[in-house]
């Protein structure tokens, strides 16, 4: 035996690691978390803590007693799922529902597929949709944000801007009649509107997105193609009939659009492997979101759109291969 280490090349390793990526996502979510605490106060902290504790607990217990594999709770992936789940919940959700959400996310959507990297659907979104269909009342009574600086007033609940539009247009109102009830663009950007904890501030979400792009955790393909699709589609309808369709900027700033585009649709495990595939994936999510928002039963469609597109990922991966070197004559030979 040789006293030296023998292994195949390469003998050096870049400084990327799963842990680093996961904690990078956590850092990117910090601005959004801070904004949600600012607007929803102690309630938000409560949701975060319970979601995190429950998710890590389920990850640990399932890994230890069912999968019987090595400890995985400190790889950061359960933490990311927990925070994403919390950002998808209203801040006044009862504790036991949050715990059920964590169990669905970690236990059903992630660990039952074999754990990290093997799940087909975004775990946090599976949990959100599970809670939404199981507890529709609790999952749609959105507290109105009241800045923590205004003191701890009683929580007032109300509909989201998308809910107002859905209901209003359904009752044959026009967009200009609804306008007084809707947040201004500035309010939307800052997050002063009803919604789940992570859906409020567009600015905070964008900040996180820029961070992840800079750290190369995500690429621009999915968010840009998704948002562009939404802008174009909603823009066409709005251009034709602005009284019965909301404008593209409204669509961008409200609901889970940015949260979905930046943090959920870009989830590595459940999105396509090639850049071409990612563009198609983003297009699909954008299109489905607008279809659901305009004609579906629910006011918000991002979660459903992403989950539906998650299911198409294996197919997209099969159809969209990277361009092989030398596969097609990229240059004309001078002969």
């Amino acid at each position: 035996m040789s006293k030296f280490t023998i292994s195949g090349s390469p003998h050096i390793q870049g400084d990327e690691s799963t842990k680093k990526i996961m904690y990078g996502v956590v850092i990117a979510m910090v601005p959004t978390m801070l904004f949600s605490i600012y607007f929803f106060g102690l309630d938000a902290i409560r949701v975060f803590l319970i979601a995190i504790a429950a998710s890590l607990f389920f990850e640990w217990i399932i890994q230890k007693y069912l999968i019987k594999g090595p400890l995985t709770i400190n790889d950061g992936s359960a933490l990311v799922t927990a925070i994403l789940l919390a950002l998808n919940l209203p801040s006044n959700l009862p504790i036991w529902m949050i715990i059920i959400g964590a169990l669905v996310a970690i236990g059903m959507a992630k660990m039952s597929f074999g754990g990290l990297g093997k799940n087909v659907f975004n775990p946090a979104l599976v949990a959100r949709v599970f809670l939404l269909v199981s507890f529709p009342v609790e999952m749609t009574s959105w507290p109105k944000p009241s800045p923590i600086t205004d003191g701890l007033a009683d929580v007032i609940t109300g509909p989201t801007p998308l809910g107002i539009v859905k209901e209003g247009l359904g009752a044959n109102k026009t967009m200009s009649e609804l306008a007084p009830e809707l947040p201004s663009y500035t309010q939307g950007l800052m997050g002063e509107m009803g919604g789940s904890m992570g859906e409020v501030s567009a600015l905070a979400l964008l900040l996180g997105g820029v961070y992840m792009l800079w750290k190369k955790i995500i690429t621009w393909h999915i968010p840009v193609s998704m948002l562009l699709t939404v802008a174009i589609f909603s823009g066409i309808f709005w251009g034709v009939d602005p009284e019965h369709y909301a404008d593209p900027i409204f669509h961008m700033l409200t609901g889970g659009m940015l949260l979905g585009a930046i943090f959920m649709a870009t989830d590595m495990v459940t999105s396509p492997m090639t850049k071409g595939g990612q563009l198609i994936f983003g297009f699909g999510v954008g299109l489905l979101t607008i279809l659901i928002r305009m004609w579906g039963a629910y006011p918000e469609g991002v979660s459903f759109a992403i989950l539906i597109m998650n299911a198409t990922v294996p197919l997209i991966n099969r159809g969209f291969k990277p361009r092989r070197f030398g596969a097609k004559p990229g240059v004309v030979l001078t002969k």
Binding site: S2, F4, T5, I6, S7, G8, S9, P10, H11, I12, Q13, G14, E16, S17, T18, K20, I21, D75, S77, G115, L116, G117, K118, M268, V269, S271, M273, T274, K275, K321, P322, R323, R324, F325, G326, A327, P329, G330, V331, L333, T334, K335
Partner: protein, 446 residues
């Protein structure tokens, strides 16, 4: 400098760590005993023509080519053949070697040992190729493909460009860099000779931009010659790969499974160009080469001109010894080099460097589950999907591995380098290539 040329698909930029780039080439004393493996080239091993007890001189033929893709081997030392026996070589296996006990340093009289540089080329293309063939020259970048074979395009194919590879994209290695600085004139003449042999009018010498001194020096020297152009290339691994360099230099893509001649190109390493100069102008066969000895803990990172057959222990000694915390010794660079099992392994024609790694950097991280981040796909210079290929190989699905172009893999290791889950992707890819290669050979036999 404007936009630098480079290849388009994938690529990484590991820390360069060119510790020995300022160390001039030092000539190493001849060893006491030379161990000369018979398999030093890609292709068939050579056949020994000397026997135990024979007296040999430096430069004398020891072994003949054992096939079309094979080469002659000449004695790097003078002395007596001690035995022809199996000894451990860079592969880690015991393989046939000629072992010579060295006595003095007597060179064959036919070798021109004067320091004069001869720039006039008198031989015809045919004679040049014959000379290169007889001198045992192989690609010195590390691939060790017999050089003369590349100079004889198959019928119907003609070479249009000669590309000289001065990229040295492997981290740590500096032997080509030092060669260009110290033997630039000879390399340019060697390039001229290769152009004559191939009958091409244009040659490019590609050098990465992290060697500005070499770019300046070579550009200055090339001015005196028509048709030789120095190309500064953006630093990107694996630009020294033949297909990547052709893409960077002349923007052509070698089709899958084909050789560079398909797009009218022949690629040779700068060290090879130097060896060609020595063989053709000085009648000196290939029996020594420049080897970088380097590593973070090495006291004196160096570039040595060493005879083939010198045990690496002697090179390491000359670089002021093996560091105490040595964990791994690599023959070649950190990306594509081979881990060596013993200090008695000799320098061979393909030895570009010896890299000594500290214990802390020697072992791999623990493999985690694939998180489908696609980073391996983004960095693959061949446009492959390493995550998919490695899985196919792991599951022994060789049909899928083949249809997903596993044989296009150049084993550059970029995928594994960038894998956040530390999956040994290249291990699986190599396994897959081996198996698919066997299946393909079997199929073509039937």
């Amino acid at each position: 400098m404007g936009i630098l040329r480079t290849f388009a698909l994938g690529g990484i930029h590991p820390a360069e760590n060119k510790l020995s780039s300022n160390a001039p080439i030092e000539t190493l004393p001849v060893p006491k005993q030379a161990i000369i493996p018979l398999g030093q080239n890609l292709g068939a091993p050579s056949k020994a023509i000397v026997k135990k007890g024979d007296e040999v001189k430096v430069g004398q033929l020891l072994a003949e080519a054992g096939g079309f893709i094979s080469t002659n081997i000449h004695s790097p030392v003078s002395g007596k053949v001690f035995k022809i026996d199996n000894a451990i070589d860079g592969s880690g296996y015991k393989r046939p070697c000629i072992i010579i006990n060295v006595e003095g340093d007597i060179w064959d009289e036919s070798i021109d040992t004067s320091p004069d540089i001869i720039s006039e080329i008198v031989l015809s293309p045919k004679e040049i190729i014959e000379k290169i063939k007889n001198s045992g020259i192989v690609g010195l970048g590390g691939a060790t493909f017999p050089t003369y074979v590349k100079l004889m395009p198959p019928p119907g194919k003609t070479a249009e460009f000669l590309i000289i590879n001065g990229v040295e994209c492997e981290p740590y290695l500096t032997s080509d860099h030092r060669m260009m600085l110290e033997k630039g004139q000879e390399i340019i003449i060697g390039t001229r000779i290769l152009m004559e042999a191939l009958n091409v009018k244009k040659a490019f010498i590609g050098i990465e931009n992290n060697k500005p001194d070499a770019i300046r020096h070579m550009t200055e020297l090339a001015k005196a010659y028509d048709g030789i152009e120095i190309q500064a290339l953006k630093v990107q691994y694996p630009q020294g790969g033949e297909k990547q360099l052709i893409k960077a230099s002349v923007n052509r893509e070698v089709p899958s499974g084909k050789l560079p001649i398909e797009v009218g190109c022949v690629v040779q390493n700068v060290g090879t160009a130097f060896a060609v100069y020595e063989a053709v102008q000085k009648n000196k066969p290939l029996f020594e080469r420049v080897v970088t000895v380097t590593g973070k803990a090495v006291k004196k990172p160096s570039n040595f001109l060493a005879r083939i057959g010198t045990p690496i222990s002697q090179l390491i000694e000359a670089a002021e010894g093996l560091p105490e915390n040595t964990g791994k010794i690599i023959g070649g660079g950190p990306m594509m080099g081979k881990a060596l099992t013993s200090l008695e392994i000799p320098v061979v024609k393909g030895s570009s460097g010896i890299l000594i790694m500290e214990k802390e950097e020697s072992s791999r991280s623990i493999e985690g589950p694939c998180i489908r981040c696609s980073k391996c796909t983004y960095v693959c210079p061949m446009g492959l999907e390493p995550f998919l290929l490695s899985k196919a190989a792991k599951l022994a699905n060789y049909e899928m591995a083949e249809s997903e172009s596993i044989m296009d893999c150049i084993e550059c290791g970029s995928c594994q380098y960038g894998c956040p889950a530390a999956i040994p992707l290249l291990d699986y890819l190599r396994l897959g290539k081996l198996k698919v290669g066997q299946i393909m050979r079997k199929r073509s036999q039937n």
